[in-house]
Amino acid sequence: MPARPDSSPQTRAVLAALLAQPGKWRYGYDIAQDTGIASGTLYPILGRLADRELLETQWESDPPEGRPRRHLYRLTARGAARAVELREERAAAPVVRKRTALEGT
């Protein structure tokens, strides 16, 4: 069980994907393609992130004719800060493992 609801690998992947283009509104299928996460897992994650105000959402205002309106997502300032924090935690993790391995020898 993850220590925090936003620290599961899938949630990290969603946050990382959104952080790659901060400020840009992304839609669900786009994020799913980017992360390889199935729709049944992705949408509960988007819901939880929005509940925690890490994500803001809106409906596309002017969709091209013939295509339904998309629901769009982007990180809030808090969401971006949390995504950066998780990225740094992840970057630091292998160093810790290496040290432990060296200490064990």
Binding site: Y29, S39, G40, L42, P68, R69, R70, H71
Partner: protein, 164 residues
Amino acid sequence: MNGEQVLTIAMRLLPRDRRELGEALLAEASQVPAARRTAWLAGGLWFAFREGVVRRVRYPLSLAVAVGILATVDRIGTSDDAEKVTLLVLLASAAVLGFLAPRWAWLAGLALGSTVAGVELFFAAQTGASGGPASMLVLIVPGLIGAYAGAATAWFRRRLRRMV
């Protein structure tokens, strides 16, 4: 009936705060390439089931389990400390349920607080023993205290997270 129609019906299961996401998932189904559409729709059905059914059943089920545990602890306890253990289980289970669903803390407090009286009443009726199981209803007070302590903890935790 095609997959999108099935999903449209399934989306009615969703609670109000998840309906927008359901509509979003459905709106994008038509844009998903045919080869992946079935998986997308299946994911949508899982989303509707998980958020619409599992989320609704989880709390009543947890409450029923907590009531069952408390009733069992009350019945099997024979030591001098049995009453204290029952009280401790009552406080702990009420606190956990209050934490999980602060809005329903009153229900957890009432249900768990009256469990012991209910159990005593049931066995008194079976054995014909006289006594005052109704006086056990006083346990509603610690039940409510435990549940609202859990709810308050959840509230502070949420506040703290918003500040971080």
